[in-house]
Amino acid sequence: MSNQLDDGVRRAYWRANLRYLAILLAVWWLVSFGCGLVFAPWLNQWKLPGTGFKLGFWFAQQGSIFVFVALIAVYVVLMARLERRLGLYEE
């Protein structure tokens, strides 16, 4: 089965995968290097609503880690959907 896969399907799969990766890694960069470090001093002028967390500090020590977990979860779901759609899903 696997060697009869048509090249067009493989190419479409890989292109969609690269697109997901670009978007998810952009978010990954934004929450950690971006909000946690580069923009942290600027974000620190606000507080996370209802708490005493300065926003930049919160991203650096809490928020980025929550987003990391969410990013992997989103990728798992997106890839499973893509594989089903293209008939590449392993039962």
């Binding site: 890989w14 580069v38 209802g50 300065k54 919160w58 020590q61 980025s64 880690i65 990391f68 590449l88």
Partner: protein, 554 residues
């Protein structure tokens, strides 16, 4: 029962559990020994990966380090978790699809080069041995602090346990003991943190409690910020060093995490490609449980410490203060002779020195928790150290028996012969690691910079290019790996060993510390690899189709 008795009971019970699991999960084939027959459920593997990853340092020292560094400590939190995003998105599914046993096997096969494989084996051995020596030392330290035996005795006991289950069970035995160790260590970490959060903020959720308002008053975090300012320490929530260096350290830790061989091999053990993705997600979730609690524990413990000792008479210090003073982890020197404890930012006037490890070790006592919690923390620290040591030792033994022996020196060796040598090399590796734990070479404290820097500048770019560039060839990969390694290693050796007196921002290149140089080393690796590949022939057709096969889930 006293703390001592509880410690014996809980540590003894956890050890008995690990041994029982090892007997139950005995390895019967090389596939069992190297990758647990590729039949581990993704959630189970995620838990095992979390225990594998979180070392004695994560468990004992990280919260204390963050309490001391404040916002500056964020680079460790983000660096050691963000790497899992790279692992899940860029590495795990493709390496699982490739489906061999080791990282050097991937490098060697993908580039069709024995040289690449041998270079990768040398990197894997070096990274794993430096790291494991630190773990064995950690085992010894936990034993000596809680059970009042010498550090040496502690190392020997730890060695005997690891020897037993790693040699007998291989990856299969390690996987199931790591699951048990994760449960022990996370329970031991969360219980004191939750108690402390409840007492200081009224919220049972440490992550929320550190920043939430307390009965309409400012949060604990804001109180700590105020205390730090008042006593002349650097701001807790801002500052933290130069931006360039913080970016580089974070990047080096992330790339290094994704490139550490003992973490990567865990993803060979799940049944399907998509399991590798979800397993990395579970692993990060289990890790995040500890990593988001650590900064909260840091805030609670530091605030509590300052508020209970600052400007108070030495005579009226609480019991835990006196107890940890006898171990040398808390030191007080009454410089101005007024009988009060001054804990201030100015080093000339500061009278109190608090070791970083104390935060986690003493948190049950500082929080006034029951004795069994202190015993639990000891069992948790040992679980963290043992699980990481076992994972590293497995990488060492597979590198020797599979990559060096079967792959290069003795290709015709039988399955039984290979399994035998895998066990022998695991046993030898434990003994060497134990020796290094008892007689630590001067550099054990520096292994973090070394292991992560080398993994970031060697494995990370090489594996990434192996999957995402069809054009990358053996010449490019090998020269990139060697250039990245040589650059990073010489920078670290220069500042850590040859001229430690020059190790300061004024002398660093572009203001990048040895901890962060791996990020630049990875860029050197990429640049050299692309340049060399550009002027050498593309890889042969069968390697290009291997890349196509790895990219497709079936």
């Amino acid at each position: 029962m006293s703390v001592q008795v509880w410690t014996f009971v809980l540590v003894g019970a956890s050890f008995a559990l690990y041994i029982a699991l090892a007997l139950w999960a005995k390895a019967r084939s090389t596939r069992d020994f190297y990758v647990a027959d590729g039949a581990v459920h993704p959630v189970v593997n995620g838990m095992a990966t979390a225990a594998d990853w979180m070392s004695a340092a994560s468990f004992l020292s990280m919260a204390g380090m963050i309490a001391a560094l404040g916002y500056g400590g964020s680079v460790y939190l983000m660096g050691w978790t963000g790497g899992y995003v790279l692992l899940a998105l860029l590495f795990a599914p493709y390496l699982r699809r490739f489906g061999r046993f080791t990282v050097p096997a991937f490098v060697g096969d993908r580039y069709g080069s024995q040289t690449a494989r041998v270079v990768a084996v040398v990197c894997a051995l070096f990274v794993s041995f430096t790291y494991v020596a630190g773990q064995m030392r950690g085992v010894g330290i936990v034993f000596s602090r809680f059970l009042e035996v010498s550090i040496e005795t502690g190392v020997w006991i730890g060695m005997a346990i690891v020897l037993f289950y790693a040699v007998l069970g291989g990856m299969k035995g390690i996987t199931y003991t790591q699951v048990a160790q994760y449960c022990v260590l996370i329970f031991a970490y969360l219980v004191p943190a939750i108690f402390l959060a409840l007492r200081m903020s009224g919220s049972p959720l440490p992550q929320w409690g550190m920043g939430a308002p307390v009965d309409g008053e400012p949060s604990v975090l804001e109180r700590l910020d105020g205390l730090n300012r008042e006593l002349g320490f650097a701001s807790y929530t801002e500052g933290g060093g130069s931006l360039v260096d913080m970016l580089c350290v974070t990047a080096a830790l992330m790339a290094g995490t994704a490139g550490l061989p003992h973490v990567i091999v865990r993803f060979y053990t799940v049944p399907k490609v998509r399991d590798a993705r979800s397993s990395a997600g579970w692993a990060l979730l289990f890790i995040a449980l500890l990593y988001t609690t650590a900064p909260a524990l840091a805030v609670f413990a530091r605030t509590n410490l300052i508020e209970s000792v600052s400007q108070q008479p030495y005579e009226r210090m609480p019991g835990w203060f006196k107890k940890w003073e006898t171990t040398g982890l808390i030191r007080f020197e009454d410089k101005n002779g007024d009988g009060l404890v001054q804990h201030v930012g100015d080093a000339q006037l500061n009278e109190l020195h608090v070791d970083r490890d104390i935060l986690v070790l003493a948190s049950p006592e500082i929080g006034g928790l029951p004795d069994w919690v202190a015993g639990l923390v000891a069992a948790g620290g040992l679980a963290a150290a043992l699980s990481t040591a076992a994972g590293l030792l497995l990488v060492v033994s597979t590198s020797i028996s599979h990559d060096l022996l079967k792959g290069a020196l003795w290709p015709s060796i039988t399955e039984r012969g290979e399994l035998f040598f895998a066990r022998v090399s695991a046993a030898v590796a434990v003994v060497v690691a134990g020796y290094l734990g008892v007689n630590p070479p001067g550099f054990v404290a520096q292994v973090v910079a070394f292991a992560f820097g080398l993994a970031a500048s060697s494995f990370f770019p090489t594996i990434l290019l192996g999957v995402f560039s069809r054009r990358m060839n053996a010449a490019g990969a090998v020269s990139g790996m060697l250039a990245g390694l040589a650059f990073t290693a010489s920078y670290i050796v220069h500042f850590k060993f040859v001229h430690p007196e020059l190790n300061s921002a004024a002398h660093w290149w572009f203001g990048i510390s040895p901890e962060g140089i791996g990020a630049l080393g990875a860029l050197v690796n990429f640049a050299v690899a692309f340049a060399v590949a550009r002027f050498t022939p593309p890889p042969p057709a069968h390697l290009a189709s291997l890349v196509d096969r790895i990219r497709s889930p079936r």
